[in-house]
């Protein structure tokens, strides 16, 4: 596995190669968003469009019984700014 | 002032020996110190990670590991970690 074979020398290359593509973003506070990446900076501030946020709702009563039943809600936003310090992970679409 | 020793010089003397690392959270690591940098990011070998939970202590064995200095609270030179 030669990392240079994938054209990535530094982690931000992965983000640069994902511009105009749909990316999955995992955020602090159990938030997840997916959208088209328009811009980013060194803080990992992001501009996404056509965004779908997935909201995890854990029922505290059920969670107490040790079962992790999580209800999922979704909402859509046309355009979104994500502050970089909340970002945990960004995953670009699969490379082919 | 002749005996003044910098904190990181003490850690430098621990290279090659066991060290016990206590994080800011309920997490601890023991292992052999291979090296560190100015941020006290540390490279450890033959590592055991201890996670203290209300249910008890979980431990995990790890091979060579780079530990982020950001979350470190205390370093205990020469200690193998929690006894028992």
């Amino acid at each position: 596995m030669d990392p240079s074979a994938s054209g990535i020398q530094e982690p931000f290359d992965l983000i640069r190669l994902s511009l105009s593509e749909r990316v999955f973003v995992k955020l602090r506070g159990d938030r997840e968003v997916a959208g088209i990446l328009h811009a980013y900076d060194g803080h990992m501030n992001l501009i996404l469009s056509d965004v779908e946020e997935t909201i995890m709702i854990v029922d505290p009563e059920v969670a107490e019984q040790g079962q992790s039943v999580v209800n999922v809600a979704k909402r859509k936003m046309d355009m979104l700014f994500v502050r970089g310090d909340g970002v945990i992970l960004v995953s670009p679409p699969a490379r082919t | 002032m002749a005996s003044q020793i910098l904190p990181l010089e003490l850690i430098d003397r621990c290279i090659g020996s066991k060290i016990y690392v206590v994080m800011k959270s309920e997490r601890e690591f023991s292992g052999t110190l291979l090296g560190f940098d100015d941020f006290v990011n540390m490279v450890l070998e033959d590592v055991t990670e201890y996670e203290n939970t209300p249910q008890g202590r979980n431990s995990t064995k790890l091979a060579q590991t780079l530990l982020n200095g950001n979350n470190i609270c205390m370093l205990i030179p020469g200690s193998e970690g929690p006894q028992e």
Partner: protein, 98 residues
């Protein structure tokens, strides 16, 4: 003055050699050895990412390939590529011989 030797240290109080800025086994050396290998990246939240380390930078931002997201011992997600923001990283551990 230029070639005056420092006074000998008092007996029993040998001064330590000043810490060298880098040495074999430093974080940089570790990272050079681990790029391209299978690693376990644990975040401070306790979530693990297992995969091949593509590269990283001085902030410990990480790019990984063939990444599996482990929560509480089971795989909850897979990513072909993943960028992990460095401030979340607790440790990077080698998952194969270096």
């Amino acid at each position: 003055m230029s070639d005056s030797t420092p006074p000998p240290p008092p007996a029993g109080d040998a001064p330590p050699a000043p810490a060298p800025p880098t040495h074999v086994g430093s974080p940089t050396d570790f990272l050079k050895g681990v790029v391209g290998k299978r690693v376990i990246v644990r975040l401070t939240s306790g979530v693990d990412y297992r995969g091949i380390l593509s590269c990283l930078d001085g902030y410990m931002n990480i790019a990984m390939e063939q990444t599996e997201e482990h929560v509480g011992g089971s795989v909850v997600n897979r990513y072909g590529d993943a960028f992990i923001r460095g401030n979340n990283v607790l440790y990077i551990s080698a998952a194969e011989a270096l």
